[in-house]
Structure formats: structure tokens, C-alpha cells
Symmetry: C2
Subunit: 145 residues, 2 copies
Amino acid sequence: MLRISKLTDYATLLLMHMARAPFETHSARGLAQRSGLPPPVVAKLLKLLAREGLLTSQRGAAGGYGLARAPERISMAQILAAVEGPLAVTECALGRGVCDMEKGCATRPHWQLIGHALQVALDAVSLADMTVPRAATVRLQRLEK
Amino acid sequence: MLRISKLTDYATLLLMHMARAPFETHSARGLAQRSGLPPPVVAKLLKLLAREGLLTSQRGAAGGYGLARAPERISMAQILAAVEGPLAVTECALGRGVCDMEKGCATRPHWQLIGHALQVALDAVSLADMTVPRAATVRLQRLEK
DNA sequence: ATCAATAGGACTGATTAAGTTCTATATAGT
DNA sequence: ACTATATAGAACTTAATCAGTCCTATTGAT
């Protein structure tokens, strides 16, 4: 349950590879080879991440992708939002009045609260944390107190 | 993203209805009418929740379903787990070695940490909280400190 | 017996996710 | 200017999952 899509998983993997050389540009082909993921998937994801502002891109020969900011300033929440869209635990949490039974339904504010808690947990982990085991552990343990 | 399935949403709604009369038994038909959900869906969900231990069931005429324990002792995490299966943010988080690239993949422990944080957030909200706005707010705010 | 209820499984259709392919555009090097 | 190597964007196909229905069996009170 609450499963993250494979694409998000892949995106995280790719960003972690890039975080090892945060100031260099990386080509889609090169990242596909290093990550072992299918080239079309890698290309699709990098395009998406660039459009969403997590990566910068340079076209043409000797072009490629680079991190838009330091790995410490890219959170898991941002990666998820880039690939899967805004966090919304339930459909109605997004606000649009598409739910048939809004009248007697008292659950909405509660789902929003839960969603907010998830957001906080996801915000607390950065891309840099993902590459360095200790940091994430510490930050998340603080949350649980 | 991280969207909960409609079934889980429905299940929560049904349990909230039952929580209003926590010691009485409720029939599937009656709950379908009160909730406005399609009877087959309600029946399916109640069967599932009973199998998972959240509800007790009584067959035969004058039978029905009842909460297995007090609303305070049923958490949103339990409801989610009952309907959607164990919480696993990524496939590999479940442990089975199905992932092709386990060798160079350092993300697994981090996803597990994030998963754990989500679990904590979901554990902090009970079915009783869902029916009484204030309690959930307070509990979740404590988590965010 | 009969009626009202749950138990369990099989099945179908709808929706979404995952992955591929094709065409257009930009840029460095020669 | 030409060519090779990149990214940009969109359309398309297939696979997987979710949502919902239906049917048959079992249980128990009247």
C-alpha cells in the first residue's frame, strides 16, 4: 500500500547517480548505462525532471543534464511531486468537488491531515541523505519523537 | 501521488459509520443505505475487514458486523493494511529478491526509512480521531515538531 | 422450511502505469 | 555548411492494477 511508482524509484536512482558528480553534466545514454535502466525510460524521466525544474538541460553535442541545485536542497517530496504530481492521499483532497457524497462526508479534513504528515516525512529526506545513510536516519528519528 | 485506493476510502467511511454505535451489529445492507455506497462494494469490503480482524461477524438472520475493538484502538495504518496489504513504499522494501539491480542499489534502506516514517504518521491517527476532529490534529502536530 | 444474513470466489470492465517509437530542434566540432 | 550527438515533445501500445458485479454456499433465527 502507498506504493511509490516504479518511475519514481528509477528517478531517485538516476538523481543519486548524478549526485555523485553534482556539478557535471550527464547524458541520458551514459546514465542509462551506469544505472542499468532501459534507455527510453531514462530519456523520458530526465526530460520530465528537467521540465519540473529539478534538472537543468543543455542541448546539442556535449550537452546533457545537470542537477538544478545542490543534492541537499532536493527533497524526496520534490522528486515524488515531479514524477507523480502533487501529493493527494484522496481524490477529494485536491479540492475539486467531484465527490458525490460531500454532504455527509466528514473524512476530508482528516485525510488532509494525514497527507500533511506524509508530506513532512518526505520533506525531511533530501537527495543528499539518500546517498549518505546516517543523515536520513537521524532526521527521521527526530520526527518520530 | 501516494494515493490511497477508493476502496480504502470507502472502508474508512464504513468504519466511521459503525463507530457511531460501536457495540451494535450492523448489516451490510443497512450500511450500504446509510453510506450511499453500492451494496456489492459494501459487502465485499465488510467481508475483507472481517477476515483481516478489524470486524467481528455474525452469520444468519439478525446477524451482521461489529467493530472488533474500540474505535480508539483501530488505527488508519491498520485499515490501510487490511484493504491494500502491507505497507511497502517500493517493491523491494518487502524483502523478496526480485529486483534486478540489487547489487549497486543503495536506495533500499532509505526507502524503508521513509516507509517507516509514513507508518508512524498513519499509526498516530485512530478511527476515533477520524470522528472527532480535534484529536487527530493534536496528535499529528506533535509528530511534526 | 423459510428468510435474512455472511463467506468465498470468479469474472468483467475501467483506469492507470510502464515502456517504446517517431519526429523536431539545438549545438559543438570539423 | 555539414554531420554527429544531444535534448524536447508527443503519440502510441502493452501490461498491470483497481473497481465493481455476480453467483453459489453456508449459517442461524423464527
